[in-house]
């Protein structure tokens, strides 16, 4: 099964309801206020959020006018194109993968940071890179064990601390090790933290500073992991994590459920942080670089397809 299929299947099931609503709303008809209202409802139901939905609809209206579109069925493509354009990943988004890099993976509790790291490591390893992991989540019980298991599966080295050890010191050790062993990519796991806990965010800043100081020549990548089922709070999460650790990208996980992942559109639109990877399943291969084309197609795919 191809990735698109998986994503579509993932986004299917009760996604069918949404797809059907889309099919309904785009059934050839005259464009009127009801059409926009229905569209608004569906977009909000996809977690795109009220304000981004408003922007999307304004944009659609403008294009409808400019392109002299008369019927609702023609709007589907216009709408999809407009969202695709917005979700386009910048060309230099993956530059960090080319040389030496340190990836810091952050996010709230339970979004799938550790799992994402396991899968990321597998991707890089497959591409022939020397990958290392740092288990800097010393807070959650057995987080280190969980990451070790992923390291074993991916066949990469891992640097661990003891439970309760200062996470920054684990990162410090890992940076030294990564240099000594000439690793290409070091991926650092961090403890899940709610973005409104000030001292935990300070801890992230500290880790950030240590990487800057100890390994300045490596490319820096800070990925915020966001659970695809999260609602509008994801905007606050992304914003706060960005402030604390200069997020350079988003990993969207758990898109294999029925959640539409519309929050990805909202984050991109409001904060301009690109989604770089998405996860659509439990398997080690169910994780890929983000492709707006595939994503938007899957999101808006017709129930008939």
């Amino acid at each position: 099964m191809g990735f698109f299929e998986k994503l579509k299947n993932g986004l299917t099931k009760t996604r069918e309801n949404i797809a059907r609503s889309f099919d309904n709303v785009f059934t050839p008809n005259e464009i009127d206020d009801d059409f926009y209202e229905e569209l608004e409802e569906i977009l909000i139901m996809s977690d795109i959020g009220v304000s981004t939905t408003g922007n999307i609809i304004e944009e659609l209206k403008a294009r409808v006018k400019a392109q002299h579109i008369k019927t609702t069925d023609a709007c589907r493509k216009v709408l999809m194109d407009s969202i695709k354009e917005q979700m386009t990943v910048p060309e230099d988004a993956y530059d960090f993968e080319k040389g030496k890099a340190v990836i810091l993976v952050i996010g709230v509790n339970g979004v799938g940071k550790t799992t994402s790291i396991g899968k990321l490591a597998a991707i890089y390893k497959k591409e022939g890179k020397k990958v290392m992991m740092a288990a800097a989540d010393t807070f959650r019980a057995a987080a280190g064990e969980q990451l070790s298991e992923w390291a074993r599966r991916a066949g990469v080295d891992i640097i661990r601390g003891s439970d309760g050890q200062d996470p920054a010191s684990v990162v410090f050790d890992a940076l030294k090790a990564a240099r000594a062993r000439n690793a290409d990519i070091l991926i650092c796991d961090t403890a899940g933290r709610l973005h409104n806990k000030k001292n935990l965010m300070e801890e992230l800043k500290k880790i950030h500073r240590i990487i800057d100081k100890e390994y300045p020549e490596a490319a820096r990548e800070t990925l915020v992991v966001i659970d695809g089922t999260t609602g509008q709070n994801a905007l606050l999460q992304a914003r706060e994590f960005h402030e604390a650790a200069e997020a350079t990208g988003i990993i969207m996980t758990k898109l294999d459920g029925t959640a539409k992942g519309g929050i990805a559109v909202a984050v991109e639109s409001e904060l301009n942080i690109p989604v770089k990877y998405i996860g659509v399943g439990e398997g080690i291969d169910d994780f890929e670089r983000f492709d707006p084309e595939t994503f938007v197609d899957a999101m808006f795919a017709s129930a008939e397809l």
């Binding site: 099931k13 009760t14 409802e41 909000i44 139901m45 996809s46 977690d47 959020g49 009220v50 304000s51 709230v108 509790n109 339970g110 979004v111 799938g112 807070f139 959650r140 019980a141 057995a142 987080a143 064990e145 969980q146 070790s148 298991e149 992923w150 709610l194 973005h195 409104n196 806990k197 659970d227 089922t229 999260t230 609602g231 509008q232 709070n233 994801a234 606050l236 999460q237 758990k254 294999d256 459920g257 029925t258 959640a259 539409k260 929050i263 439990e282």
Partner: protein, 451 residues
């Protein structure tokens, strides 16, 4: 603080209502449109929002509101009441089997919802109530899930049961319950793996556990940050497995937690607890009414209104006189004293602040309490009380010698007296210059309500 943003939103809505004498049908519509947006931004499910807004509108547009003393308050009241009734109107406890009988509790939910942590927290809670709990590791999929539960069990000093990750969750559960019966455990927690509600195989597994062992309570753990998806999750788990209660996790974040409303509205199942922190002890009882007024952020406005009504029995004439004086900038220290007394009748400044919307909670409250020091108020009052009646009525006559006497009488430095007199004169001038400002005092001319 959870819900804070929704709170602010709703307050803005009601702020625009407050200036109006009476609500028209149009006003209700406008206000409810804002309420709808606010709820949507809080991730309350679209359909739930629709239903909610409709029921509020039905009640709000009509005689009740129009007859109310203050229409704005009436709408707040209705929104609040509907919210409470949506959330469930009473606190519910987990139903345990009577006496020493074993209660089997199955924890389920999506990945990352917080099942393992919540199971341990619950066990810790019940342990305090004298129950002997057993935590059973039935998540055989996630790497180190068993270890995580074991470590949490250790922290809570609760017994732990595992058979590794090679047996089926059904077999593990069965063996665990036997183990519990033999060892005198009262409550058995089965910690299952996180699963998607559309993963039929995994859902079957939960059904298998339920049909093979006697599960008394099935608890669904829902992440408070969940979006529109929350209804699908709750509905499917309830339909396929049967859910007895819901626990909301990660409520210590700043998610507005619309999921709480959605889940309750869709399943009708009670929300039992909310997870308020990372520590194992941070699991709190869920109070629907408290939660609703927190969502609304209206603090205890209604109580404030009642108190104010009871305390301030100022007759109309006196009020008129007062607002006349204010408008002309002619109020004196006597009036000042009078208004301070009124404040005190209402329970002092901090209690008023506490009841005020938007100030009722969080950091803001602390800031304000620091800013408005009640001791300072008492000092000010002492100064005013140390003046003679003549001085209070004619502040102009206050010369340095009089000020010295007043300072001594109040036990303060003369600079404090100077400051007060100066402030008083300034505010007098301001009142004169800004007659428009005083319109807000309305015909009641009393303490201006924030809505």
């Amino acid at each position: 603080m959870a819900f804070e943003s929704l709170t602010e939103k709703l307050q803005n809505v009601f702020k625009s209502l407050r200036s109006k004498g009476r609500l028209t049908e149009e006003d209700v519509k406008v206000a409810l449109k804002e309420v709808k947006l606010a709820l949507l931004e809080a991730d309350v499910n679209f359909r739930v929002v629709k239903q909610f807004v409709k029921s509020v509108e039905e009640r709000a547009v009509g005689a009740d509101v129009m007859n109310g003393l203050n229409p704005g308050q009436m709408v707040i009241k209705i929104v609040n009441e509907e919210m409470v009734s949506l959330m469930g109107s009473e606190t519910t406890e987990i139903k345990l089997q009577p006496g020493k009988a074993v209660t089997v509790i199955m924890m389920c939910g999506l990945q990352g919802a917080g099942k393992t942590t919540t199971a341990a927290k619950l066990a810790g809670k019940l342990k305090l109530k004298g129950k002997k709990c057993l935590l059973v590791a039935a998540d055989v999929y996630r790497p180190a899930a068993i270890k995580q539960l074991e470590m949490n069990a250790e922290k809570q000093e609760v017994d732990f049961f595992s058979m590794g990750d090679k047996l089926s969750p059904v077999d593990i559960s069965r063996a665990a319950i036997e183990h519990a019966a033999k060892n005198g455990h009262n409550v058995v927690f089965i910690d299952t793996a996180g699963r998607l509600q559309i993963d039929e195989e995994m859902m079957q597994e939960l059904q298998d556990i339920k049909s093979n062992v006697e599960v008394h309570q099935t608890l669904l753990v829902v992440d408070a940050m969940t979006g529109q998806e929350a209804v699908n999750v709750a509905k499917t788990f309830d339909e396929k497995i049967g859910v007895d209660g819901v626990i909301l996790s990660k409520m210590d974040g700043d998610a507005r937690g619309g999921a709480a409303l959605s889940v309750k509205a869709v399943t009708g199942k009670p929300i039992l607890y909310v997870g308020m922190g990372e520590k194992l002890s941070d699991l709190e009882q869920f109070y629907p009414d408290r939660m609703a007024s927190r969502i609304l952020g209206m603090g205890d406005v209604l109580t404030l209104i009642e108190k104010a009504e009871a305390a301030l029995d100022i007759d109309e004439d006196k009020e008129k006189e007062m607002s006349q004086k204010l408008r002309k900038g002619k109020f004196d220290f006597e009036d000042y004293l009078e208004s301070m007394n009124q404040m005190r009748k209402m329970g002092g400044i901090s209690s008023i602040l506490g009841m005020m919307p938007g100030l009722g909670m969080g950091i803001k409250n602390q800031d304000l309490e620091n800013a408005i020091d009640e001791k300072k108020m008492a000092q000010t009052e002492a100064i005013v009380l140390s003046m003679t009646k003549k001085e209070r009525q004619n502040p102009e006559i206050l010369n340095p010698s009089r000020k010295h006497r007043i300072a001594k009488g109040a036990g303060v430095d003369i600079s404090e007296v100077n400051r007060l007199v100066k402030q008083f004169e300034q505010s007098r001038k301001m009142m004169k210059q800004l007659p428009g400002m005083m319109k807000g005092m309305g015909k009641k001319g009393r303490f201006r309500m924030p809505f």
